[in-house]
Symmetry: C2
Subunit: 366 residues, 2 copies
Amino acid sequence: MRIVLDAMGGDHAPHEPVKGAVRAAKMYGSNVVLVGDEAQIRAELKQYDTRGLNLMVVHAPEQIEMDEHPAQAIRRKSRSSHVIGLKLVQEGVADAFVSAGHSGASMAGALFILGRLPQIERPALATILPSLHDRPMLLLDVGANTDCKPEYLAQFAQMGSIYAERTLGIPTPRIGLLANGEESTKGNRLVQEAHLLLRESNLNFIGNAEPKDLLVNDVCDVVVCDGFVGNLVLKMGEATVSLAAKRGALELRRSFLPRLLLGVAPIAALALQPGPGRWRTLIGAAVGGTGMAGIMLYPLWRLRRVTDYRVYGGAPLLGVKGVVIIAHGRSDAVAVASAIRRAQEAVEVQIVTTISEAVSAGAVTT
Amino acid sequence: MRIVLDAMGGDHAPHEPVKGAVRAAKMYGSNVVLVGDEAQIRAELKQYDTRGLNLMVVHAPEQIEMDEHPAQAIRRKSRSSHVIGLKLVQEGVADAFVSAGHSGASMAGALFILGRLPQIERPALATILPSLHDRPMLLLDVGANTDCKPEYLAQFAQMGSIYAERTLGIPTPRIGLLANGEESTKGNRLVQEAHLLLRESNLNFIGNAEPKDLLVNDVCDVVVCDGFVGNLVLKMGEATVSLAAKRGALELRRSFLPRLLLGVAPIAALALQPGPGRWRTLIGAAVGGTGMAGIMLYPLWRLRRVTDYRVYGGAPLLGVKGVVIIAHGRSDAVAVASAIRRAQEAVEVQIVTTISEAVSAGAVTT
């Protein structure tokens, strides 16, 4: 099995993608084809001991920049890492394509070069969300289709159900429909019509799911929505975490010094008092303070880890003729390696064939 | 000026609404008409010293329950606190209606009983969001209209601009359009078309706004979206805060005891060592630990206060012939009192007449 990695994609390319490829080759035994500027990739590779690792380099002289129009860039830049990488998958030379670069270009490229699966109306981008319980929660579509028909959402549910079952190991996944209330009368017209389709399907449909059902309650495994709403909801979650972190840091900065002085004053008064063993006050204060800081910081550190996008790897684009994993633009080597592993898992369980067969069998008619 | 308060609305009615009315009468000199079950309201009022306060009770024998269909309930329950309260405003006996009860019924009732302002296509529910900088950020629509046309969004922008200018004191408010990217090509069809309308309007339109622009960046004062998306985004913010709080508490519980023992061990070892002044170790540790806990907990407490929905009072329903403030169902007395104050401010600046005149002047043609 060969995984194509867009070595030029992401905010820290080619350094982090190349490092991630080395990491995946070492940790998961991955066979990675690095596509991009050969000289740059080889210069990066020299920093690591790559003996015995399955790493190949394929030269691509062009790159798609973040401000380019996705479809136009794919058409014009036939020698870009996106186009050359996806063609390797299309020709059967490789089995999956992973990129942390221009996500619109990855989706457009997947559509033009690999093509849609027969009977799939629209491919969908799926992502795993952090949740209170430690089970993965799959949300799709998070950005491939800004305007959807009810039938698309029903197909997203079907693809998501298969993906959750096969790669996340969830038997008969519980499917929710993202809405602003549990009642079937809630939601906009699209959601109300999709609700009826899903209720008639043979999926394990549990009804409408609210944002708290995505993150806090353990009521569903897969939640579907249109790509505009999914992308906004995802970004709102990120923005809220960012607000809390920044605001917390601001408050800490504002209050740290006066409070530190408040704490230091009694300790100093105590330590300066004459009498034997006054150093004990200081040691006691240092140990007590450090211990308490550890007790309070550890859960915050764990919280950061739990909401860390890196451990979830990339987002699979479901419904195209090939495995395509879109990683976060900010991906570091750890994130790139876990996106490569996600691609391997999807290839192993033959996700493309499975989705194609299930949809052909007509679980949801459109 | 008289403010009608639905004394039967909210999770803690009539206790908290009545307490909130007393608080508003004392703190803001409000003149409040409590509508609901007279016996229950009077029993609650007896708990407070209400001499000299402007509090009136109007009996309403029916209530609208949370699971009722909004429009049907308004039509059927003509003796409910919603209908009787809104009629007091419609007849000019009172100037504003405040409710923490069934929000759908409040909106439907406002439409049926007060009616839309001429030339307003759809009223919109506006809410103030917490943000990193301490300036208020107005988001609308957050739930009145699940399916919108581009013209509605343009009118929401106009109403929001006037509200922000008049009641929040922001001169020529910066208007954003909620989308999943800054570029004007981002967003679904509705957003793209609304973008063109807003660009042609005489509003201070700054372009598309992403969720991070709502919460973290100080780039706009008013952001518009359809009510389905607005409601979801709001709920996603709440769910993320809830996830972080619950997860943080879980991690703290998991790690507190083992870490406390880790901290206690060296202190105990030190304190048990023979020698003079060993009590100093303990006092030092206690002071140091408490000081550090204070330093770390204070910003978290401040964070909670900043994201507290209560201080922002209720959400105004803009575009109807009267001032209507919809408070959170979980409102306590503090939240109810600040919703009453918000209603007073809106009446004082004659928000209804101002919106009506501005829209008639044709800032946005539909």
